[in-house]
Every structure is written in structure tokens, then in C-alpha cells.
Amino acid sequence: MLELQRVSKHFAGIPAVDNVSFFARPGEITGYLGPNGSGKTTTMKMITGLIERTSGEILLGGKPIEDDRIAYKRRMGYVPEEPYLYNHLSGAEYLTMVAQLRGLPARESAEQIDGLLHLLSLHDDRHASISGYSKGMRQKILIAAALLHNPDLVLLEPFSGLDVASALVLRSLILELAHRGKVLLFSSHELDTVERVSTRVVILHRGKVVADDSIERLRSLMELPNLESIFSQLAVEQDTESMARQIADLIHA
């Protein structure tokens, strides 16, 4: 189980994440939602160890992640929102590099890479340079790189650029991984997808957790029909219709 206990992160004294506590259990998909700037990515980066937190504890399987960072990273797979890749490599070379750096056996990982590239429809472009890949293809490489070592904890950030078929495959994959006992933390702006796949949701607003429960319970507690309404009520401050009118007026539409 992944557990965050009163985790905070301050940038120049300003809290980006403030006393956030929640847990994500194996076999469950935890949706992590929030508007832009609410602290989702900062939380994800703290969980991956990319940035240090100001206070609080992050535990995996009851152990603080600092106890053995290398062992922790061996158990974690992370699909970041920004597709940072080495552009001079081809898709296959990049995945091979990741497999080598993760210490995976050469023959086994070569077969896995080949299989993943086939299943993600990248096999024909496996020897092409990543610099020529579309955004969706880059996302697929990041997904393959994050899953290659069969991690216990999978952290997924919002992905865009995937075609409809790939997005559906990914949605099913998330469900399948949860079914096989993985801990999944899924941060996304696509409320519909989150509603369909998540067991629980954690909603963040201005760095604080404003909701942490199953979608069914939130629906009945707040007497709202769907996740979008719940999210709008908890985390959206602006009057969206009024804002849309103002923008249209501004451009003299």
C-alpha cells in the first residue's frame, strides 16, 4: 500500500501541497484529481522522489521510501505528463536503455520490449528516432518504459495525444493491472475516464485534500449525479459559463 502522511511541499515559503494524507491500496485504482496548479504533479514528483518534500512521510508497504531509494525505485513505474525522452535514440533503443538501467535480464527484456512495441502499435517505428515520434507515440514509449519491470506501484499522470483505440487499450490496461494486485495512482483531467476506472478518488484544491472517498459515496453524500458535478462543486471556483461569455465578448466573437 502507498501511504502519504501529512505531506507538504513549500516553494519559497508558499505551500504547493499542504498536509496531504491519503492511501492507495493494492488492487485499487485511486484517481487523483485537481485543477491546474492544485499540486497534483508536485505530489507525484514527491512520490517518485524527483523532489524533496518539506514535511510528512511517504510509505510503500509500511516503509518510508527514503529507507532504500534504489529498492523503492525498482518497485515503482512512473508515466509523467511531460514526455521527457532521449530524442537521439529510437523507441527500441530507449526501452533497451531503461531495461539495462533497471538491471533486467537482456534476453527476457528484449522479448518484452518487442512484445510491448507490437501491442502498442509501435513495432513498425521501433528503429525510428524518437525525435520524429508524435506525442501519442512518445506517451506509449513512456508507458512501456514504466511497465517494463513489472512494478508494484504505478503512477500515471494525465496523458494526451493518444488515439481513441490506444486510450481504450490504456483504460483496460489500468483495470487489468489493478486486477492483478498493483497499486495504481491515476492523476488525470479526464473525469469521465477516472469515473469509469477508479475505485476511489482524491480531489485536491489549492494544495489541500477536499475529498477522499469512493465515487459512489461522494455521489450519495453530495447528492450529485456524477464525478464532474462533484469536482465542479469542490474544486472549480469560477463561474464557467460566465467566463466563456467573457472570452467570447473579448474576441468580439
Binding site: 525498482r74 537521439h88 539495462q100 538501467l101 538491471g103
Partner: protein, 404 residues
């Protein structure tokens, strides 16, 4: 690759080997050359040019030696020894300029490698090894022929081994000094807040580029020990690293006059400081930079907005001019490409300036000056046109200001 190097590499941990190969392909700053640059091909071309230069230098030296009267041999030898040292230092400086900041982890390295089970020290050693490999390639190829011809001329067959060892040691020491000094400067600069660092680093890179070219073309020459010790040249000698390493070389060979030992001592001190500075900068950076790179945004809000008051005619023309100027000020690739052309212009100007300064009386304007001026103008315009023709690909390391 020699067999012993292959064996050595094979004994390294797998993570180190994998990262070393990756960093070797990225050690040259792709932003400063071309986004799609083919690094192995680029390194091959770079080695080929250096080998060619070494052959030309050695052939020129041997021809001059064959035609030299015995009384002028000493003077020829001194000039011949000093020039490869300053050329090597120029090459090391230019290698440092084109691989600027690449020894330190950037945002991409941090985002990719920090989530993998790789220790920061492995990344540090792999990056350092990749940079050292490129520098070694530069040292070896630039001296591949002169490194045999000059020691042979200095020591003859009997002392060839010793003079050869001192020659190569001096070349390595001179290159390491310059590369290490620049590394230390870059490392300490990277400790600045990201907003300041991105701007200062870009300025330093261009400043280093201009300084190396200027020093190479303006450095004083000395043909004899007496000229070396001439009182009016002491300050120039003391400030010029290649003169210090020239003295260092002669000290190792036992041919340096006692009165010039201070110059060799400066080289030793400089080498030690550069090495310690580079090591300290690397350690500090790997302790703090990797996290800072992830935490701090590359897109930083502008402190104040500059309102252009230039009137350039039509809106289309103004838009194109401002777009060009912004590309030049904000893109490392464009800045460095333009600096390349300007450095040629600067070299022509400095060569003329030097010959005019060293002349007994200032020369009047002659056709040579006019041709040089014309060439400078052509190159400046040609460079500007080429730079503006480069495709825009502003990557994350380019400082871009946006309004609050």
C-alpha cells in the same frame, strides 16, 4: 577503441557503461549545433579536421627546420613548441564551449534518470567519463603527428621517449587546465537561482568563445629566452595560460631558464586550482542541482517588460525583426551559430590589429585592410542570414520570459 580500453570498459558496472554511451552521444551541445545533429558523424569530422591540422603543422615545422640556418634553430624550436600548446588550449576551450553545461544533469536527465534505480554518482562518473573521452579525442587527434615530430626534433632518437612524454603530458595538462577551469565556472554558476543561471550561463558561453579566439590571435610571440623575459611582456606572459604551459613544458625538459621558473609554477598552481575547482563544482552540483532542475521552472516570469520604442515601418517588418532579435537573444543554438561567424570576423580583425600594433609605425590603410573589412562585413551579414534561416526549436533549457 584499443583493446585495453575495451577491457577496462567491460569491467565497469552495466549502468555506468549504458549511461557513458548515452552521454557520449549527447556530450556535444545539440542546441548549439543542430537539433538533429548526428553526433558520431560530427565527432568523426571533428577528429578528421584535427588530424589534418596536425599533419599540416608538423609538415610546416619539418620544412622550416630543414631550411633553417643553425643560428635560428633555437628560435624556431621555441616558436614551434609554443604554437601547438596554444592551439591545443584553444581546441580544449572550444570543446568546452560546444559541450557547455552538458556535464551537469539537465531537466531531461533528471526526469528520466531520477525515477530509475540509478545512483547520482553513477550519472556523475558517466558524464565525466564521456566529457573526458571527447577531450581525449581532441588531444590525441590534434597532436597525432606533431606529437611525434616535435619530440623527435627536440630530443632526437636518444631522448625521444622523454621528450615525447613531456610533450603529451603538457598537452593533457593544458587541456585539462582550461576544460577544468571552465567546468568550475559553469558548476559554480549553476548554483545560482535558475532565472539568473540561464542568462549568465549563456553570456559566459559566448564570452568564453570570444576570449579564446581573441587570446589565440593576440597572444605575444617570443622567439628567444631573452624575448620571453623582456620586461614589457611580463604581464602578458603572466596572464596567458599557453605561455605558462610553454614554460611548464620546458621545465619538464630541463630547458627553462631559472628566471622563468615562476611561469612554470603558475601553470602547476593553475592546474591544481582548476582540478580542485572542477571537482568541487561537480560535487556541489550533484548534491543540489539535480533536484533544483526539477523543482525550478525553465519558463520564468519577466521582472519587467521592455517596451520597444523602435519604429521599423510596417507591422509585418517589425514582427519579423523582433522575432529575429528574440530568437538571437533567447536561443542558445542561434546565439552560438552567430558567434561562430562573428569569431571569424573577430579573428580577421585581430590578426590585422596585431600586425599593425607590432609594426614599428602604424600602417596606413591599405588594400589588405579594405579587403579584410569587406570580408568581415560579408561574413557578419552571411552569418546573420544563416542564423535567421535556422529552424526555431526552443527547448526547455532556453530561458524564455513571459509576462506575469
Amino acid at each position: 577503441m584499443p583493446e585495453f580500453v575495451q577491457k577496462l570498459v567491460a569491467r565497469m558496472p552495466l549502468q555506468f557503461r549504458v549511461l557513458y554511451h548515452q552521454f557520449l552521444l549527447r556530450v556535444i551541445d545539440l542546441e548549439s549545433l543542430s537539433i538533429q545533429a548526428d553526433i558520431p558523424r560530427f565527432l568523426g569530422q571533428f577528429a578528421g579536421i584535427f588530424i589534418m591540422f596536425s599533419i599540416m603543422q608538423a609538415v610546416g615545422f619539418l620544412m622550416a627546420l630543414a631550411a633553417c640556418p643553425p643560428k635560428d634553430v633555437l628560435s624556431l624550436m621555441w616558436t614551434t613548441e609554443e604554437r601547438p600548446i596554444s592551439t591545443m588550449m584553444l581546441a580544449a576551450g572550444l570543446i568546452a564551449v560546444v559541450s557547455w553545461d552538458n556535464i551537469f544533469p539537465d531537466r531531461r536527465d533528471a526526469m528520466i534518470l531520477a525515477t530509475l534505480p540509478v545512483r547520482p554518482r553513477t550519472i556523475l562518473f558517466a558524464k565525466a567519463a564521456a566529457c573526458a573521452a571527447v577531450l581525449s579525442l581532441g588531444v590525441v587527434t590534434l597532436n597525432v603527428v606533431t606529437g611525434v615530430a616535435i619530440p623527435l626534433a627536440i630530443g632526437g632518437i636518444t631522448h625521444f621517449l622523454w621528450s615525447s612524454a613531456t610533450y603529451w603530458f603538457t598537452m593533457i595538462a593544458g587541456s585539462v587546465f582550461l576544460y577544468g577551469a571552465l567546468l568550475a565556472i559553469q558548476g559554480f554558476t549553476s548554483l545560482l537561482p535558475q532565472r539568473i543561471f540561464l542568462r549568465v550561463s549563456a553570456l559566459l558561453q559566448i564570452a568564453a568563445f570570444g576570449t579564446f579566439i581573441s587570446v589565440y590571435f593576440l597572444e605575444p610571440t617570443f622567439a628567444t629566452p631573452a624575448a620571453l623575459m623582456a620586461a614589457n611582456r611580463q604581464w602578458a606572459l603572466a596572464l596567458n595560460p599557453s605561455c605558462c604551459f610553454f614554460a611548464f613544458f620546458n621545465q619538464l625538459n630541463g630547458t627553462l631558464p631559472l628566471s622563468s621558473m615562476w611561469l612554470a609554477a603558475r601553470a602547476w598552481i593553475g592546474l591544481t586550482i582548476a582540478l580542485l575547482g572542477a571537482a568541487a563544482a561537480l560535487l556541489l552540483c550533484y548534491l543540489s542541482t539535480m533536484r533544483k532542475t526539477v523543482e525550478e521552472p525553465d519558463l520564468v516570469p519577466a521582472r519587467r517588460h521592455l517596451h520597444w520604442r523602435l519604429h521599423l515601418g510596417s507591422r509585418l517588418r517589425a514582427a519579423i525583426v523582433f522575432f529575429g532579435l528574440r530568437s538571437l537573444t533567447r536561443s542558445r543554438q542561434h546565439r552560438l551559430a552567430f558567434a561562430f561567424y562573428l569569431s571569424i570576423v573577430l579573428a580577421i580583425a585581430l590578426s590585422w590589429l596585431r600586425s599593425n600594433i607590432s609594426a614599428a609605425s602604424p600602417r596606413p590603410l591599405d588594400p589588405g585592410v579594405l579587403i579584410a573589412t569587406f570580408m568581415m562585413m560579408v561574413l557578419a551579414v552571411f552569418g546573420l542570414r544563416n542564423v535567421f534561416a535556422l529552424p526555431i526549436s526552443l527547448t526547455s533549457r532556453v530561458p524564455i520570459s513571459r509576462e506575469k
